[in-house]
């Protein structure tokens, strides 16, 4: 049976070296480029006619736009509108990478912790900087929620600080683990189909097909969860209630 971890190997497609750094164009970079190009195409080409009654592709673009716009306005509230382009780009990029990974023989960029961690670290550091610019040192009152008795504070404040600092880790590992586990499961069960042989091979085949449908759902869901958690963290930063 093929090694299910082989699909996550990074291969250099165009070796490039700048100074001492390896900046080759890898298969990960290729699939990220394809994800961005696909999303850009859907939106730019879909909106080229700007009809009042949308056609099919324009309908898709408008639905995606409105979905994220509603999510941002519901969860970030006032002052969230200027962060909408960022959230939309984040959502479409994660969705594109997750969905393209489901094509057989392709590569899922978001199944690498460095990709998801780069995005999560950017979100975390950006949100913290926004909070400091808006509230200054009053930001630290976020860790001491209102209405908590004083004797409880020495226990509660470290817990609050730790659960705040762990946000980039959980944000990145959630996406990474879902993509990794999903794709490993797919490969393992697909391997079972061959191993079990022709008489009983239909059983793992049915399970693989059903699991593939679940993986499509998980791809869309994880993109949505990444975006909505970014909105919630932004809400925490902009309006310091708990």
């Amino acid at each position: 049976m093929h090694n299910p971890m082989e699909q996550f190997e990074i291969k250099r497609l165009i070796p490039l070296y700048l100074g001492g750094l390896d900046v080759s164009y890898t298969n990960a970079a290729l699939w990220m480029t394809i994800a961005i190009a696909l999303m850009a195409f859907i939106f730019v080409y879909g909106m080229r006619r700007q009809a009042l009654v949308p056609g099919r592709l324009q309908g898709v673009a408008e639905t995606g736009y409105e979905f994220i716009a509603k999510m941002v306005s519901d969860n970030v509230g006032e002052g969230g509108k200027k962060y909408f382009p960022f959230i939309l780009t984040l959502f479409l990029f994660v969705l594109g990478c997750n969905a393209l990974g489901l094509i057989p023989y392709s590569f899922t960029p978001t199944s690498h912790i460095i990709v998801t961690f780069a995005m999560a670290a950017f979100v975390f550091i950006g949100v913290t900087i926004i909070a400091f610019f808006k509230h200054g040192l009053h930001f630290f009152s976020f860790f001491a929620p209102k209405g908590v008795p004083l004797w409880l504070m020495p226990i509660l404040v470290p817990i609050e600080v730790i659960s705040y600092l762990i946000r980039p880790l959980t944000l990145s590992v959630r996406l990474f683990a879902n993509m990794l586990a999903g794709h490993i499961m797919l490969k393992v069960f697909a391997g079972f189909v061959i191993m079990v042989g022709i008489f009983f091979g239909w059983l793992p085949l049915i399970f693989t097909s059903a699991f593939f449908a679940l993986e499509v759902l998980v791809a869309c869901l994880q993109a949505y969860v990444f975006a909505i958690l970014t909105c919630l963290y932004l809400n925490d930063a902009l309006h310091l209630h708990h």
């Binding site: 971890m5 999510m71 683990a177 990794l180 969860v225 909505i228």
Partner: protein, 75 residues
Amino acid sequence: MDPAAAKMIGAGLASIALAGAGVGIGNIFAAYISGSFRNPEQAPRVFANVILGFALAEATGLFGLVVALLLLFVL
């Protein structure tokens, strides 16, 4: 103990964390289903929170799975 054997046992133990994921997800959907039987009109309104809750509960279980995979394939 042979380190390779210890890794396998550790990976098996870490996978027990997925039981928590199952219980948590079951809780969320049980609350959603029982709530939508009582108040079917409000069910679509809360569905987005259900999806968010499901993803967060699943994530905690998958953190355990990541430890198991780390033991098997990286360390």
